[in-house]
């Protein structure tokens, strides 16, 4: 026999001035199952709470309805109170008679009627409530970071330094990412390698860190606290345990292909280390380029290797790792400048993109830091930098700003002037976005000290003529057309999400936009979380970002991971779906509806036949409690705790019949 207590709050005059709180309490007292109904000035105040606690004890209440403000405001308060008074918190419901009633209506009788009916609905709901215990999920105190650029390295270091084991998975043969390709970085012009490589080494040597290079995420099972990730370790074909990194194989290898790291400005061998400071510093064999794997002859490397580390028999291997949380740090790609017919479809040899220019600037780059005109090898005297190539260009399908180009174009022009004193640098821009710390000053320096000429306008066309690139642009500030005979053109091509990120997002069940950027859970308040609990974002995989922002976000993601892994188990609200296996027919309509993959296949022994039948099982660790699976369940075997079929029907039924209001 239910004994419900109803507590009507005045909220000072907030409710009482519009709702006849006494009438509500009196009416509630007459509802079936209600054993106690009172009203009071401030239910959330200490005396208010004491009053409820007292009533629960004295009246031996089996349920509580607090008619006050929005449950989004005080539901936790009153559920905690119930717990402390020895009543299961899920026997407490709130009737929202403030936000949904007294604050939005003027007519006292009508508002009062609404309040009474609202209380009635929730009394009915509480009468059909069942006790629920919070879900406790054991947590694997280990994290995985996907992507070994500065974002991934920083996140992994922060996690490892906090004493938590971390596994970093990198697709290429070395960690370092795009930052390793950069020369000097804005706005301080400190050398990218000099600040990055120590971090790379720290991570490689960290006792709590484990790095898989030349590896990719194959499959993700499980859920927050316990993801089971299968990592594909691509065959390196070089046994790193034996390899001494002497480099003879590389020296002897006859097969050359364009170097990814040098953006095609130089070649690398089929057996290669992407760049001198690579971590690990030991080579892998690119089977797509290796003569043995493509043509079935050669094996020169094997012949010369003093350590006998070359093993052509090596195969891809699959490794399963269980981790409690995952940080995605897959970075970015530049768009293909072939998109621009008016800029020669990327076929103009003296027209390169920003990353290629970085490689040219870099002392460890293909030109040893010497700026050259690709077609002639001479030093370029006139260089044109073009911003917003792809960015902010709806006709090319990329409406957004890539955020870093304004700064690196200024940097490029500056570094060019430092290397070529008598050179002329022009930058075509639409707007200069230099909002970071020290950024505006940096751009000013390019103009004031290094005499970089900024032209406000886009370039309409460029073509090769007499060994130069003719750039047809405009300066909208002076209202003139501009034609520049350039030795070299550097395009600030737009940034998009990195290739293959969509597959990964699918495996992790996280969202992404049409440009390949991964979706955060909330653009302001949950910028590093995703909609999959336990999966976090760091760096440019979420949106174009510069190094300072990337590093901060990586730190943020790490701290979220550490917070999550700080306790041995996760405690989650028990408002999840559950299956009555006795009536489940195993159609798995629920499985198809569930956006979280929380429905698993289980077996039930059929009482009569004794046969094993397949039934749906909800994994409470994954279920987010949306309830989408309930309406699709044909035999009504599925139900949602806290919002059960019975509870909702009883709320609806509570409304049958009318109150007749004398006005």
């Amino acid at each position: 026999m239910a004994r419900i207590g109803v507590f009507v709050c005045w909220c000072g005059s907030n409710i009482a001035s519009t709702v006849d709180v006494k009438a509500v309490a009196d009416a509630a007292a007459k509802f079936p199952g209600v054993a106690h109904a009172v009203e009071y000035k401030y239910m959330c105040s200490d005396p208010g709470q004491a009053m409820i606690r007292q009533a629960i004890a004295d009246k031996r209440l089996t349920g509580v309805v607090v008619a006050a403000c929005s449950p989004r405001m005080h539901e936790p308060t009153f559920r905690r109170l119930a717990l402390s008074a020895g009543l299961n918190p899920y026997f407490v419901e709130m009737a929202n008679i403030r936000e949904h009633c007294s604050w939005v209506h003027d007519d006292r009788p009508l508002a009062t009627t609404k309040a009474i009916e609202t209380v009635k609905m929730l009394v009915e709901k509480v009468r059909r409530a069942s006790p629920l215990e919070p879900i406790r999920v054991p947590v694997t105190r280990k994290a995985m970071v996907v992507g070994g650029g500065i974002a991934g390295i920083q996140a992994a270091l922060d996690i490892a330094n906090a004493g938590v084991d971390v596994i970093l998975v990198e697709r290429s043969p070395s960690i370092g990412g795009h930052m390793a390709q950069l020369d000097e970085t804005f706005p301080t012009l400190d050398c990218s390698q000099c600040i990055l490589t120590p971090k790379m080494v720290d991570l490689a040597q960290h006792p709590r860190a484990r790095i898989y290079t030349y590896a990719e995420v194959e499959e993700v099972k499980g859920f927050v606290g316990n993801f089971r990730v299968t990592v594909r370790q691509k065959a390196k074909t070089i046994d790193h345990a034996k390899c001494t990194a002497c480099g003879v194989c590389i020296e002897k290898c006859p097969a050359s292909v364009p170097s990814e790291f040098d953006c095609g400005l130089a070649t690398r061998k089929a057996v290669y280390v992407p760049f001198p400071q690579a971590v690990p510093a030991k080579p892998v064999i690119d089977r797509g380029a290796c003569l043995w794997f493509t043509k079935g002859r050669c094996k020169v490397c094997e012949k010369f290797c003093p350590a006998g580390a070359v093993s052509f028999a090596d195969k891809d291997s699959l490794v399963e790792e269980t981790v409690g949380a995952i940080v995605v740090a897959t970075g970015f790609d530049l768009i293909d400048r072939g998109l621009y017919g008016e800029y020669g479809y990327g076929k103009l040899a003296d027209c390169i993109d920003g990353l290629q220019f970085e490689r040219m600037l870099s002392a460890s780059g293909p030109t040893g830091g010497k700026l050259v005109k690709p077609t002639s090898g001479e030093t370029p005297k006139t260089v044109v930098f073009v911003q917003c190539v792809g960015s902010r260009d709806d006709s090319k399908g990329l409406p957004y700003c890539s955020r870093v180009c304004c700064m690196y174009a200024a940097k490029h022009a500056m570094l060019f002037k430092h290397k070529v004193k008598d050179g002329r640098a022009y930058i075509f821009y639409i707007d200069i976005r230099a909002a970071g710390k020290g950024y505006e000053e940096f751009v000013k320096r390019a103009v004031d000290e290094d005499r970089v000429v900024y032209l406000r306008g886009r370039v309409s066309r460029m073509f090769e003529k007499d060994g130069c690139v003719i750039v047809k642009g405009a300066d909208t500030l002076s209202g003139q057309q501009v034609e520049i005979k350039a030795d070299l053109v550097v395009l600030a091509t737009a940034i998009t999400g990195s290739e293959g990120v969509r597959d990964l997002a699918g495996k992790l069940r996280i969202g992404f936009d049409q440009y390949g950027f991964l979706s955060e859970a909330h653009p302001k308040l949950r910028p590093v979380e995703t909609n999959t609990p336990g999966v976090f974002l760091a760096g440019a995989c979420q949106a174009p970002k510069d190094i300072p922002d990337t590093v901060s976000q990586a730190g943020a993601a790490a701290s979220k991971v550490l917070g999550l892994l700080s306790s041995p188990e996760l405690v989650r609200e028990p408002l999840v779906a559950s299956v009555d296996e006795a009536i489940c027919i195993g159609c798995f309509a629920c499985e198809n509806t569930c956006p979280y993959g929380a429905v698993e296949h289980g077996l039930r022994k059929d009482a009569e036949t004794g046969l094993e039948v397949e039934v749906a099982k909800v994994n409470p660790g994954i279920c987010e409690g949306c309830g989408a699976c309930v309406p699709v369940c044909r035999p009504k075997a599925m139900d949602l705790k806290g919002y059960s079929e019975e509870q909702i029907y009883s709320e609806i039924n509570a409304l049958s019949g009318r109150l007749n209001v004398k006005g």
Partner: protein, 291 residues
């Protein structure tokens, strides 16, 4: 293959040789051209400059007339006409309200459903198809040609949808199919200024001059065109261009249909090669192409 043929004004007068060669080439390719009865001027640039409705109604009338002929569609040789006819189709399909206005102007309804092809599209299709090789009596070996598309064949892409708007290849492919060598150059799709030829000759001369200069400096013997307005700008005014820019050009400007006709074995006379201000015949002789 039967097409409703829209010659357009120029082919009636200043571009008679374009018409002649178009007809001959069509015949050799087994394409039947039936002139649209009662066709009128498309209004060209002045048409749409003066009034949107005039600019659409004039071509729409000719298209409506063509619609009654039950052919593959309209075949047109002039790039400007081509663009106006396509624009008319586009405009009446885009807006019901505007289509009604056009109907009022024409006194009949036109649905915008007659396909419009440029002669170049048809020839390019044929050149890519089997059997074309056999038709070639005279390979134009050793002839270096700059394929000039100009503006209206390729722009705006959503109206013409003809080929890539920055680096089209259709004409180059035809030229290559004839054994001649299409050269790589920069002014394929630059504007020749035809619209200003009357009113601001100096502009037209400058723009046309740059085109011819680039063709020449890129090693072309001749420029091949698919538009009578481009042709007259580049050929008829070439002497003025030379005077205006103080340079020597002497670049023959040939219709692509004449080039195809030559390869098919027609004579210089039949193709009206003699009608050009810069006579291409000597050049052809120099290249060992006997016409």
């Amino acid at each position: 293959m039967r097409y409703a043929f829209y010659p357009g004004c120029s082919l009636e007068s200043s571009a008679k040789e374009y018409r002649a060669s178009t007809v001959l080439v069509a015949r050799s390719l087994g394409i039947e051209l039936e002139e649209i009865p009662g066709w009128i001027c498309c209004g060209s640039t002045p048409g749409h400059m003066s009034d949107k409705l005039v600019g659409i109604a004039l071509p729409a009338h000719t298209l409506a007339a063509a619609a009654k002929m039950g052919t593959e569609g309209v075949l047109v040789s002039c790039a400007s006409c081509y663009s106006r006819l396509r624009a008319a189709n586009h405009a009446v399909r885009a807006s019901e309200a505007f289509a009604n206005q056009v109907a009022l102007a024409l006194g009949e309804r036109y649905a915008g459903d007659v396909p419009v092809y440029h002669m170049l599209e048809i020839v390019a299709k044929a050149a890519a198809a089997p059997g074309f090789e056999e038709k070639i009596k005279r390979r134009l070996k050793g002839l270096k040609v700059a394929s000039y598309y100009g503006c209206l064949l390729v722009r705006p892409p959503d109206i013409t949808g003809f080929d890539d708007q920055e680096d089209p290849q259709t004409l180059d492919r035809v030229v290559a199919a004839l054994g001649a060598e299409p050269i790589a150059w920069r002014h394929k799709v630059e504007c020749c200024g035809a619209a200003l030829a009357f009113t601001h000759a100096d502009v037209a001369l400058k723009l046309s001059g740059e085109i011819l200069e680039d063709a020449k400096s890129s090693g072309a013997d001749a420029v091949v065109v698919a538009c009578p307005l481009c042709q007259s700008n580049l050929d008829l005014r070439q002497r003025n261009i030379e005077r205006f820019l103080g340079i020597d050009l002497e670049v023959p400007v040939i219709y692509f249909t004449q080039l195809v006709g030559l390869a098919f074995g027609y004579s210089a006379g039949q193709l009206g090669l003699g009608k050009h201000m810069v006579n291409p015949v000597p050049l052809l002789k120099r290249r060992g192409i006997h016409v």
